[in-house]
Every structure is written in C-alpha cells, then in structure tokens.
Amino acid sequence: MTSNQFMFLLFSAVIVIFSILTVTTRRILRAATFLLFVLVSTAGLYFLLQYNFLAAIQLTLYAGGIVVLIIFSILLTSHIAEKLPAAGLMKKWPAALVSLIGAALCIVVILQYNFPGSVGSTERVNVRLIGESLINYGRYGYALPFEVISILLIAAMIGAIVLAKKRKD
C-alpha cells in the first residue's frame, strides 16, 4: 500500500463516516460539525491530488464560509439542545432503498468500466496559471464563466439581503 493509497483511504473513511453521521444525527449543531469534518477531509483529498489552490478555496470558502453561515442560521432558527425528531420509517426505508440501489448501480457501472490510463505529462498547477486562465478569453480561458459567476454572486448577495430583510409590516 503506497502512502497515497493510505492517505486516500484515511480521508475517504473520514468522509464516508462523517457524511453518514451528518445525515443521521439528531442534533443539528453536530450535523453541521460533522459536515465540517467532511469538507475538511475533502480538502485533504485535494491536497492529495496536488490541487493546493483548490484545497485552500475548499477550506476557506466551504469550511470557513458556508459552514459558518449554516451554523449562524442554525443558531437563529433552532435551540442548540433541541433534538430533531426522528424521521418516520415510511420515509426512511424508501429513501434508503432508493439510495442503496442508486449507489449500487453507479458502483457496478464504475467497476465495469475500463478507464484508460493517464496519458499526458503533468505539471504543477501554480496560482499564476490559474489567474491567467480565469481572465483569459482564448482557448482554455474562463473569462466568461468568471464574469457570470461574479454576477451570480452579486445577485445572490442582493437576493439574500432582500429575502432575509425584515418586512416593515
């Protein structure tokens, strides 16, 4: 077992276990915490794959931003001590069944497919390259999605403010 494999298995174990805990725990704040673990482990996978910039974004934005946002909203809407009611069996079983069948189906397909090995050489992705790509509008340039995303973010920001604003009446 190479170190890569070991690290991968470690991260994936954390991810799977905490994912499951996230969706099953009945304390909402714990769920958020477990989600944080999952996201951090994902960042670890990115590191493993040598996408350092991406991992950094994952950590700051996801782990740092979104999870904090979620925790804030939890604090706004629920009591921390409160235990969520358990879902009914009529709800659990179909959902579990569908999820298992879906997962099994995907895994079987994945295992049956013969992926080609990697061909090209690799070079280390540096931040400069990323930055140039983001503002490049030629081949492999992402200027347009970048702009779109920025507009989206502004829209979301404004939208969130408008939605969450307390009505006068």
Binding site: S19, L49, Y62, S73, F115, G120, A156
Partner: protein
C-alpha cells in the same frame, strides 16, 4: 502525475457520498439539514471533477475550474437558501419541510 490510487476509488467514494446526501435530502425534515445534504451532494460532484481531471487529463485544468465555480455557486446557493429559510422561519416559526405544503394541488 498521481500514482497509486485508481480512478474508480474516487468514483466509488463520491458515489457513496452522493447517495448519502440523497438519503439525507429525502429523510431529514429540517430545512437546514437538507441544505447540508445538498452540500454533500455538491461536494461529491466536486471530487469527481477533480479526480477525472487529475487522473485522466492531468495536462488540463477544466475539472479544477469547474470545481471552483461549483464552490462559488454553492456559496451563492447557500446564502440564498439560508435567507429563504430564515424568512420562512419568521413566517411560520418552523422550518419543518413537511409543514410547507401550501403549494399543493
């Protein structure tokens, strides 16, 4: 060049994570936990992108960029979703999804 871990491992991981997210989305009643499940789903997709990129086409960067964009979209989505949740909470002092069936029929 990334050695040792086959692509299928990544895919299986993301599959498991994805369906755990789906399960969560289908089962949890609380809107915020549902949102968390969505985050899980999104994350699993991100892992796929990244893994494909790294293992199959290491000379390109599409997977990474899409992941970045997904994260951005996820952030936007989370903020809007939370705004909506808070709004709903203000109205019905509850964020139980089963109680929100006014749009039926």
């Amino acid at each position: 060049m990334f050695e040792g871990v086959p692509l299928s491992w990544f895919l299986i991981l993301s599959t498991v994570m994805f369906f755990v997210g789906v399960y969560g989305f289908l089962v949890r009643k609380n809107l915020i936990t549902m949102l968390m499940s969505i985050e899980l789903i999104l994350n699993s997709v991100c892992i796929n992108f990244v893994a494909f990129n790294k293992i199959l086409y290491p000379e390109h960067m599409e997977g990474m960029f899409f992941t970045i964009f997904i994260i951005a979209v996820a952030a936007a989505e989370a903020s809007v979703a939370i705004a909506i949740i808070i709004n709903i909470y203000r109205r019905i002092v509850n964020i139980d999804v089963e109680k929100m069936d006014e749009m039926k029929y």
